[in-house]
Amino acid sequence: MSDLARLLVDASSLAPQVDALFWFMVALCGTVAAAVVWAVLYYSVRYRRGSNADRSGEPSTSIPVELAWTGIPAVLFIGVFIWSLFVFVKMRTPPANAQTIYIVAKQWMWKAQHPGGQREINTLHVPIGVPIRLTMTSEDVIHSFYVPAFRVKQDVLPGRYTQLWFMATKLGDFNLFCAEYCGLDHAKMGGHIIVMRPPEYARWLDGNAASGTLAAQGAILFRSHGCSGCHSPDAAIHAPDLNELYGQTVHLADGSAVIADERYLRDAILLPNQRTVAGYKPLMPSFSGQLSEEELLALIAYLKSTVESHHDHD
């Protein structure tokens, strides 16, 4: 079944590491299972009633034996856990130079927005050999972004950002599935990941250039929604300067400190006074309900674009 083989390819930098662990587990569990089954069959034959096997001195328990088969599996399990721990942490921490693409899920489609403002639905074009970080949210229920060939999956939640990263290592067209049950057309909520060479990708981006980059769209919103009215040096209200805020450590009024990542920015805009920046009054109005998920992403892209050193190219 060569079609199946197509689903099985390992097309991301993570895939081989996952597979290594997977096949190791298959081998380990396989041996153990085989051993147990063999023992069962062997005893069943040897000690069937009427066989003339020696049954003298049957022990009904033996502490050392019990301890042995308590300890050995325990040790093996811990070993496996530690191995999986390292792979897992790798899968969960995007490299610093990963470039961000935004995903908005809704019943029953995937909407993608590239930093350059290009939008696509149920397909995602990515360059090969470049670490890609997806920042994802949902407009309605929980969905799950699943690309078998990349061995990656992450639930996509409403009202929150989750992230996922991969680096494609093979050119081609790979299946995208929605893996969390989300209602009527859950089964149809699929798509394609199209991996291209960087030059082709660049050409594709130009081909689909949208009205200004995402950041540019954000800049417009930043004025139209009156953010600039407060967040500009000449504003009457004393509000923090948002330039180069992204990635900085923000000190909050309650003494704690947080990294200004996307989730933080999102909360700052939607639930401003859930936490207040040290040295400011909680004057910022909440914008929840006034901004669509996509507008939010644009704003955040804009705030990020004010950071020169950042890798997102606009």
Partner: protein, 529 residues
């Protein structure tokens, strides 16, 4: 000889059955309910498998399909498997095995049955009239804000049945503590009693959480409270935490009794004491307690913090160790025995193999790095059918065959029984092994239609399911037949050691004519009258 069962079960007629306080009759009432729900769930499974024969899923509409697997999951979990062993075999045998005249609260026992049936019929009605499309996990916000099906009714049904579980649990715990016969110390209890005790603890401590969580779902739909609703700043993951705090321990509600049954069957047909009795009891307790601390392994990709995931992961590995101990002990028990292979033994051996395979794949899922690609695919579906169907259901049927002579006083046709057991084993593997491969290939679960690439394996699986269906229907036939045509069983057809075999089959109202005495685990004599 005039068989006593006639006298025992015929007397009184329907009315006396519906008002009985006798744990043995209540057990039989439960058995009827269980079988009924199993057939319903099975019918749903049949539709699922038929629909998945071709990639387009052209048998059912997407909507119907979603309602079908929800129906299947809800009915099979809450109305078949969770009550199956405890309420039938447990109710019948627990008092017998500890030499008691009945459970501690017979009236409560009957009340539980009525709650169970009420809740069940309510749910089935709801599921048939319109149905529910949330999956048995009721994830929010889909179940609260988006699904416009009869979520209320089902939630209420499960809620009511939850009380049946809780009351049964209370009943068993008190029974074991207060009604053990003279000399029946804790470490002389049959392992089946141990598992009944453990499972009661889980029911009592976990079920309230489910009940209340479902109540919150109903409230959230009714009054738009926002506890789980992100639109209000509520948290959908909170629901998942609460749900799995019940539902992982619930899977041990399903497997512990099965382990108990197997631990009774094997020594009987090996004619040899169970190996490592004490370690078996310790591992039961370990599973019971640690089983409450691993629920997060259902949420590795749900958006749970990475550190929490790691904690839950390692605990999931830890909870697997006691299961390992049990598998090894059962195997060791075979050594130096004088083994015969009657039907119950075949089921027990089948259980060991299938549970082990299911458990080992559970181990893979417990490693987050592997769970990320495998979760919500058919790999998981295969995992839990191996443990639940290959494990628990096999053991339930094994136990049913093992104690059938005791319960009914009749012997069934041994050859038919063996045939069914073997057929079931192969049908099962044919059904669910392909699903492991499907899952690894990346076929997500709860899919009404799928990519053509997956068809071959799905057809295999459906073919297996039809064999399985046949294998499940066979026992219904020959067991019923045995009631009219079966040979009288006598007190102890297997010459087993359990106390329940010391009294007549079926046992008299008061269980024992003379108060028996226990000398050590599984060794009894009748005290002089």
């Amino acid at each position: 000889m005039t068989t006593i069962d006639a006298a025992f079960y015929r007397e009184g007629g329907l009315r006396s059955w519906l008002t009985t306080h006798d744990h043995k009759r209540i057990a039989i009432l439960y058995a009827l309910g269980i079988t009924f729900y199993f057939l319903l769930g099975g019918a749903a499974a049949t539709m699922i498998r038929l629909n998945l024969v071709n990639p387009a899923g052209s048998l059912l509409s997407a909507e119907t399909y979603n309602k079908t697997f929800t129906f299947h999951g809800v009915v099979m979990v809450w109305f078949f498997l969770i009550p199956s062993i405890p309420t039938t075999l447990g109710n019948f045998l627990l008092p017998l095995m500890i030499g008691a005249r009945d459970v501690a609260f017979p009236r409560l026992n009957l009340a539980s049955w009525y709650l169970y049936m009420a809740g069940g019929l309510f749910t089935v009605a709801a599921l048939l009239a319109g149905g529910v499309d949330t999956g048995w996990t009721f994830y929010t916000p889909f179940s609260t804000m988006f699904s416009n099906t009869h979520v209320y009714l089902v939630v209420i049904g499960v809620f009511v049945t939850g009380f049946a579980s809780i009351l049964t649990g209370v009943n068993f715990i008190v029974t074991v503590h207060t009604l053990r016969m003279p000399g029946m110390t804790w470490f002389r209890l049959p392992l089946f009693v141990w598992t009944m005790y453990a499972v009661s603890l889980v029911m009592v401590l976990a079920t309230p959480v489910l009940a209340m969580t479902l109540a919150l779902i109903a409230l959230e739909r009714l009054a738009h409270l926002g506890i789980f609703d992100p639109a209000l700043g509520g948290d959908p993951l909170l629901f998942q935490h609460l749900f799995w705090f019940y539902s992982h321990p619930a899977v041990y509600i399903m497997i512990l009794p099965a382990m108990g049954v197997v631990s009774e069957i094997i020594p009987c047909f090996v004619r040899r004491r169970i190996f490592g009795y004490r370690f078996m009891t310790y591992s039961i307790l370990a599973i019971t307690v640690i089983g409450f601390m691993v629920w997060g392994h259902h949420m590795f990709v749900a958006g749970q913090s990475m550190y929490a995931s790691l904690l839950f992961s390692i605990l999931s590995f830890v909870v697997a160790v006691p299961s390992a101990i049990k598998v090894f002990n059962w195997t060791a028990t075979l050594r130096k025995g004088a083994i015969t292979f009657e039907a119950p033994m075949l089921y027990a051996l089948g259980f060991i193999g299938l549970f082990m395979l299911g458990g080992l794949t559970g181990l893979m899922l417990a490693a987050p790095a592997l769970d990320i690609p495998l979760t919500d695919t058919y790999f998981v579906v295969a995992h839990f059918h191996y443990v639940m169907v290959g494990g628990s259901v096999m053991a339930y049927l094994g136990g049913l065959h093992y104690w059938w002579p005791k319960i009914t006083g009749r012997l069934y046709s041994e050859s038919w029984a063996r045939a069914a057991a073997i057929l079931m084993f192969f049908g099962f593997n044919l059904t669910f092994f392909p699903q492991y491969v499907l899952g690894y290939e990346g076929m997500p679960r709860r899919y009404h239609s799928y990519l053509p690439d997956f068809q071959a394996l799905n057809v295999l699986s459906s073919a297996g399911a039809s064999i399985l269906a046949l294998a499940y229907l066979m026992p219904i036939a020959y067991l019923l037949w045995s009631l009219r045509a079966g040979q009288p069983a006598g007190n102890n057809p297997w010459n087993a050691r359990g106390l329940e075999w010391q009294t007549s089959s079926p046992p008299p109202e008061e269980n024992f004519r003379h108060q028996p005495v226990v000398r050590e685990a599984y060794a009894y004599d009748e005290a002089a009258p």
